[in-house]
Symmetry: C2
Subunit: 512 residues, 2 copies
């Protein structure tokens, strides 16, 4: 198959370039001295250009057609060969998809978009600090103008409505109809759950916070211990510190980060488990397709499902709190009978519902409200139905309706997130779709693993990890995100499992 | 100047790719988990290939000729324009040189060389551990065969004798006649100095070693303090730990490393100053030519001159020992009157002469003997006058003659260095040429800076650094290494200053 072989070689080279970019990005956040930023930006821009050149090469469409013909002419001799052919076909489809995205925009628009985003991000940092939306509005208007242009161009190239064309870059194949259906259900049911959870919470004895300070070295040791429980492969990765926690690197060299607050160890510990979920997904991607597009993660909804499954479903569960409490006591030298380190007490702290202004601090009950707000607003902005100047008012109205609290300032309102300032429209829904997928996958894993709660209570994630490897991680981009969910769980993606999970955890309804 | 502009754009891209490789190499040595090696090798090989493609593009020779015509047609209006034209011409010459090296070898030989070196390095590690030269000999013979082939091909392409063609990759423009002249002088005079120094040393009171343990955190703080004294720009670099100390990164993001021995702080402290010398050279390279070939360091002799000037000439000097002793006392909480931390005592420890088997542990008096041995042997091997099987015997004979001690084992003999196993023939002379250049440059700096000793006694390297920036660092590849030395010192490179330095430091002869 000369065409397919040539394509594989080119995308292998692209994978190495993108892997190098991954290490350089991690280094930027973790190690780089300030004065290295200019040359590092130039290095990364050059690597991005080289990658772009590979993806936009003029002879790719012909190679795609030749490769498709080669695959179509293949008669697999047995099931293994048929399976391999399926992967090759999926690989070719991913190559085409990446080519389509890369060629959808004229080079000039790509450049203007990058420049506008970079300028706007800078102004946004100042405007947020000064709580001055008016200062930021012109920059956001410019970004929005270019995003609308890009959405139209991508939509025309991909045959999608403009907003879906943006969405497709983060969650390939995602359609607004799915999102609307799921979010409508959440909009109806979440306020009911939230209010009932708040009432139940108020009626219970208040949990006790463990008293710090919690030295960084002890918190790091706890983080390593938790990663080890979750199955993090330390011969293929490391834990470091950065301003915002993230998961980076490449599947065989995972770089996750956290930050430490000496007054509170739980936030960092849960951030470590969240990032470990992302990293385990990357590490479990199909080994045979490591350097090909089909071997990459299947978009941000599935990625977020893996971090949220690890953090929200498994690690904040009451069973796991038994292992977590023991590890925390050991890390900080707490007495065995210290009530603050009691597993029930820690669990109560882990699942507190507190409606607030800030998305990244939100609990799992109110988080989707934050996302639905942003989804509605960004769709309206891309459609041309919401002007930038009307954003602060629309934000407050939406917060009242979807989260139940209204911020006094734009800093705690529409200036809080980096997404729009940096030109990322279409990303927000994946957070909550990821939460839905996490609940649905965890429910399926529980069905398949009757001992799961006992395992988690002992800090043993191996059964869960094995199930995820088989049904999610190892599937790469073999299927669409929705096909993957349906194959793994037996049902299309919906809000059912998530809502059951909330009712069980917060209202004590349904099976434990 | 369309051709020159096009060339600058291509070599700018190359500079970004090589910069990215620099960060990836540093990360490999400092951070990378074992399991990341395979994919990292692939990433680095891809970046190297992309760089090689830029350097071997078929249209480069025509672009070079067009650019040369453009430059020749330029009539500079004033001195500044004339100076700029000089830099452009030197830049074009460096582009041609890099192209000539990259195209000198057929792709097949490049690949076979890389494979043989990689295999041989692996076998060498085992053979050295087992002190088993016979096990290593066939691999070295294969490497040598390919190096001889490469030397012949490079020689033909560059119009040089084979060994000089290899040398040229490490020290552009270096000729064996210069080396022979300098080394002949060292061979005559060093044994006399060595024996007199040993006699004088035996007649003095023996210095006292500071008693450890010296905690790593305190050693690191001392290292940072010393780097600060030497002028290391911490907004453009950092200090980390690796198995072997090195200086990496890029000029605006310097990454130096050291290692710590809790029983001895001096070795790490001097290694830090040595690597700081390399890093300061990189940082001082001409800012206007940061991403062009003419903005790069002028070969390994000049590079080593900067590390050795900082370490051997400045930092191991008696004046600097006053500042060093104070910093060390503070780092380790030693009493002000602790005799082990007395500046004279520390100086005596810093300049002890002890002939030994291992090059990297050698003092500055016996070090050149180790280098002359290797130079003679590798020239003979490349010329076909020394067979691999005869190497151990020739090594012992040479050690007796040039260093005055003979190792019992090949592990402490011809198996000690990684250079030949990895195919680096022609590198060794630069260590000692660098030592000559360091002494000669330091002598010139002393002449220009009457307060230098007082400055060093206060830990103030700023005057020295300013002189080096003007005369060495800021010159990039504007001149050949020898032109650079002659412009900076008023004399061609010779052993004079080095021998005077040794006589003054070890025998008390000449002005202090």
């Amino acid at each position: 198959m000369p065409a397919m072989t040539e394509l594989e070689a080119r995308f292998r080279r692209l994978s190495h370039i993108e892997g190098a970019e991954g290490v350089l990005s991690w280094d930027w956040a973790v190690n780089m001295p300030k004065g290295g930023a200019t040359v590092r930006s130039a290095q990364m821009a050059t690597l991005a250009e080289i990658g772009h050149d590979i993806l936009t090469a003029a002879d790719l469409p012909a190679l795609f057609d030749d490769a498709a013909a080669e695959l179509a002419a293949t008669a697999p001799a047995d099931q293994a060969a048929a399976d391999r052919l399926g992967w090759q076909q999926a690989n070719l489809a991913e190559m085409r998809r990446r080519h389509a995205h890369a060629t959808a925009l004229p080079a000039d628009l790509v450049r203007r978009r990058a420049e506008a985003a970079s300028t706007s991000e800078m102004i946004w940092r100042e405007a947020r600090a000064a709580d001055d939306f008016a200062r930021f509005a012109p920059a956001l208007a410019e970004v929005l103008k270019l995003e609308r242009e890009a959405a139209a161009a991508k939509g025309a190239a991909l045959g999608l409505p403009p907003y879906e064309a943006l969405l497709d870059a983060y969650d390939p194949g995602r359609r607004t109809a799915d999102i609307d259906r799921i979010f409508a259900r959440l909009e109806t049911e979440l306020p009911v759950i939230r209010d009932a959870a708040l009432a139940a919470q108020a009626a219970r004895r208040q949990p006790v916070r463990p008293q710090g300070p919690f030295p960084v070295a002890a918190q790091r040791a706890l983080g390593i211990r938790l990663m080890t429980m979750a199955g993090f492969p330390f011969d293929h990765g490391r834990l470091d510190v950065s301003h915002h926690p993230f998961s980076g690197g490449v599947p065989d060299d995972l770089r996750i980060t956290t930050r430490y607050d000496e007054a509170d160890f739980a936030e960092s510990a849960m951030a470590v488990l969240h990032e470990t979920g992302h990293a385990l997904y990357e590490h479990g991607l199909p080994r045979d397709w490591r350097d090909q597009p089909v071997g990459l993660a299947r978009g941000m909804t599935i990625h977020e499902s893996q971090s949220l499954l690890t953090e929200m479903q498994a690690s904040r569960s009451r069973p796991f709190m038994t292992a977590f409490a023991a590890a925390a006591r050991e890390a900080f030298g707490a007495d065995a009978d210290d009530p603050a380190y009691d597993a029930d007490n820690l669990h109560a702290l882990m699942v507190r519902v507190r409606p607030g202004f800030i998305r990244v601090n939100a609990d799992e009950v109110t988080y989707p409200g934050h996302v639905m707000l942003r989804y509605g607003l960004e769709r309206a902005m891309i459609a041309g139905d919401l002007a930038v100047d009307d954003l602060p008012g629309a934000w407050r109205e939406g917060m009242a309706r979807l989260v139940g609290v209204v911020p006094d300032t734009d800093r705690d309102g529409c200036l809080q997130d980096i997404h729009w300032p940096s030109g990322a429209f279409g990303y927000f829904p994946t957070y909550s779709l990821g939460a839905m997928a996490a609940a649905q996958l965890f429910q399926a894993a529980r069905r398949a693993l009757p001992a799961l709660d006992d395992d988690l209570a002992r800090g043993d994630f191996s059964g869960l990890l094995g199930w995820l490897r088989a049904h999610v991680h190892g599937q790469g981009c073999r299927w669409s995100a929705d096909e993957l969910i349906e194959r793994a769980t037996g049902a299309p993606l919906s809000a059912d499992a998530f809502l059951s999970h909330l009712r069980r955890r917060y209202l004590g309804e349904g099976p434990a």
